[in-house]
Subunit: 244 residues, 2 copies
């Protein structure tokens, strides 16, 4: 038995998230069935996280155990031929038996893309969230500093997942602007449910002047979800990298 | 009667091009029916050009004549509410009676986006064309110089349109690279059928070293379609601006 790790890139627009569901088309379900058809085994894959419906990835990690004799690095090409247009295997490699995409994960990096303009997004409507107000990038980056470090992020968690602790360590968080695209990058050892999307909603509140950068400290300390900004929609979110 | 000019942005992925067809969903058909429903007239719109299936625009121009009392600048919001997600009116304005989107047009600017990497495009598969070879941007820009000016571009025209002359004036053509995205911009007083896509195919031949930059002169002079590169696929193409 070999343990194969895959690095996936996908457009999440047409999927009901990562996790397998009986009656809906999901990323896990789609990838599993393509691998199973290839190896003629009932493959079960382990993903690094459940991504929500509409969320994308440029470096999702999953692994599966197989008896197939296909060389590890050949899985990439063999699967890419059979996968739909919106999913690609970027890399396939053999990893030690104990490697587990979720449990072995040390951290992740996400990006969130905002289109800053009065008009709705059309061409990139599935990959950005439109914001009709001008954003003060300087103030947003100032606000970012208060997030960095180890905190109880209860204020930045939606109901829907049961986790033992809401303490997480954010190692980087910054905002970049190119043309009228505002991109937020965040890395942490782990993320609570909708945490990135709530951080982005709160940073937008800073960017439009609704709250001050310094108020982030109080919002975190309050541990109250209602004090943070709204959850931004999924389509702007992309899982960029997973660390092991 | 007023003559209203619209500036449109659209994602062409789900349309069989601009021009109205009886049994297929087209951009003209979609926009016409939304305007007709709004003004309660049988509106016919005139577009600046026929764009092919899968081609996008950030500044398509069309106009229509109406008896409606809706203020010119209000058409924008009224139509955006009713248009599908992938089409937006960026501007609506009244223009002189003699304005004609196609006949009054003095020139157009297109862009073509290439994703330079070995792996197929997934997230932006509808907006780029993937090229697995490394492209020499310096040589491509050198080749661009030979296109600029007034030439008979018969070698860069596919069959499918009847035009009186194949002489066109290219005022600018250049290549830019950001990360692994290569973007080609071209402006001209007019374009022959598939002209941009054949120019891009030929510039790629230069970029991969298949032909020299200087050979562009001979290809143009030959007026022979078979001497130019292949027509690149539509999804990388975007009509950026129309000049009047």
């Amino acid at each position: 038995m070999r343990n194969i790790k895959l690095t996936l890139e996908y457009d999440g627009t047409n999927y009901f998230g990562w996790q397998k569901q009986k009656t809906k088309v999901t990323l896990q379900g789609t990838v599993e069935s393509v691998i199973s058809n290839l190896t003629k085994e009932a493959i079960e894959i382990t993903g690094c996280s459940r991504t929500d419906s509409g969320v994308h990835s440029r470096g999702y990690i999953c692994n599966f155990v197989t008896n197939s004799s296909i060389p590890s690095e050949k899985f990439k090409d063999a699967l890419n031929v059979k996968l739909p247009d919106d999913i690609a295997v970027l890399k396939s490699e053999e990893v030690p038996e104990e490697f587990h995409s979720r449990y072995s994960c040390r951290g992740k990096k996400y990006s969130y893309t905002i289109l800053e303009r009065p008009m709705k997004a059309t061409i990139d409507r599935n990959y950005v969230c439109q914001c009709k107000y001008n954003l003060d990038i300087g103030k947003m980056n100032e606000a970012c500093k208060y997030f960095i470090g180890t905190h109880d992020f209860s204020a930045f968690k939606n109901k829907g997942s049961s986790v033992k602790t809401s303490v997480r360590t954010i190692s980087e968080l910054y905002v970049e602007k190119t043309g009228n695209y505002v991109k937020i990058f965040v890395s942490a050892d782990g993320f609570l449910y909708n945490m990135v999307r709530i951080i982005v909603g709160t940073l937008i509140d800073v960017g439009i002047g609704k709250i001050n950068p310094e108020s982030i400290k109080n919002i975190i300390d309050s541990k109250e979800r209602t004090n943070a900004g709204k959850s931004m929609p999924p389509q702007g979110l992309c899982l960029e990298e997973v660390y092991y």
